[in-house]
Symmetry: C2
Subunit: 217 residues, 2 copies
């Protein structure tokens, strides 16, 4: 629960963005990238890029730039994304559907294998190649082999009971998009996703930028 | 572009979560809250909560706890959320629809007034009380009065041209959910939202927790 303290949260949150860019460059046949190039892409300071990348343990190659294949390997290793992570999604509403359509997850080895919902008009639907199943069949579908990660995209009111069921079935890692603080046993890790967090960032930057404009006027 | 450097990003991203909890307590008729209570809810260390809250400029009241109404006022002021922020949404797909359905935005004063899309089967639809309009009518709909914030929820390939049109119409703050690094003039602020950032957080915590389990076994 409390292990967030020592993590460099902004750096970790940026890792998929580096990976996205690097995988794109790799697909374009490029072999090396400079930190300047990455800073330009990420719209952050050069020194921040270098610090972020050093977290992965790759040795610095400042003059020739980083080897793209190497850097991809180090970032994936840092995140534990070398092997495919089997996941399930609970809640096939608009947000759940958006996550299923997020192309990069597969590139990162995050594979949503099964989708569950409790609503009769969702069950049986096919979303991005997955058939939505009845949440009451979850135990049978897991068949004693719970997924590594469960993504909760249900309403705030349903989220705790869904989490309880997941925990009972042996799920240890929950990515929670419902706007509630879930109660789980200490050996279960919950990552709460608050969409409005990005809005808060934009808002503070807006406030700063307006204050600056007023000063110069 | 570079103003992120001095911001306490994790603290800012947590602000809406505090606000969510405080507004709920306020609605329940509560008047004060302790930092211990908030730490429990946020699942972070007490000292982190105190640091977060001190950012808002409120004076500490450690023994009696914080006055909820006061704290709400300070957080809203810190984020520039005292007055309603008029916004528009571009892209009425599943993610855009999910954002329209996010109840807390209205509580935060973030009001999506208009929704635009380019697809014939979206235009004219009513989503959470807003009629989806043709993106080609954006200039007329703004009528020389651009919204404070535009939320981009279109495909990666369409995002840059949408951003160009928004900038041309005078939009200064863009919340970008497309997975691209937008090119905009220096006086325009873009907040890029990378959904996979939360997955990276969960993944690093998973890696740590597995390493710890292996050690104790």
């Amino acid at each position: 629960m409390r292990q967030n303290k020592l993590l460099n949260i902004p750096a970790i949150r940026r890792m998929p963005t580096y990976l996205h860019k690097l995988l794109k460059m790799q697909a374009e046949g490029k072999t090396s990238v400079s930190s300047t190039e990455l800073a330009e892409y990420m719209k952050i300071e050069l020194i921040v890029v270098r610090k972020d990348i050093s977290l992965t343990g790759i040795s610095g190659q400042r003059r020739v730039g980083y080897d793209i294949n190497e850097l991809i390997k180090y970032i994936k290793n840092y995140l534990g994304w070398e092997q495919t992570i089997p996941a399930v999604l609970i809640g096939a509403g608009s947000l759940g559907t958006a996550l299923l359509g997020y192309n990069d997850f597969e590139l990162y080895g995050f594979h949503i294998e099964q989708v569950f919902d409790s609503s009769a008009d969702k069950i049986g639907q096919c979303l991005y190649g997955r058939t939505v199943r009845d949440i009451d069949t979850m135990a049978e579908c897991f068949a004693g082999n719970p997924p590594e990660i469960a993504v909760i995209c249900v309403s705030n009111t349903a989220a705790q009971s869904v989490a309880d069921r997941l925990v009972e079935l042996g799920v240890k890692y929950i990515w929670n998009f419902a706007n509630v603080s879930l109660k789980v046993p200490p050996d279960v890790v919950v990552q709460r996703e608050v969409i409005a967090g990005g809005l808060a960032m934009l808002s503070v930057r807006r406030k700063q930028s307006r204050a600056k404009k007023n000063k110069t006027e």
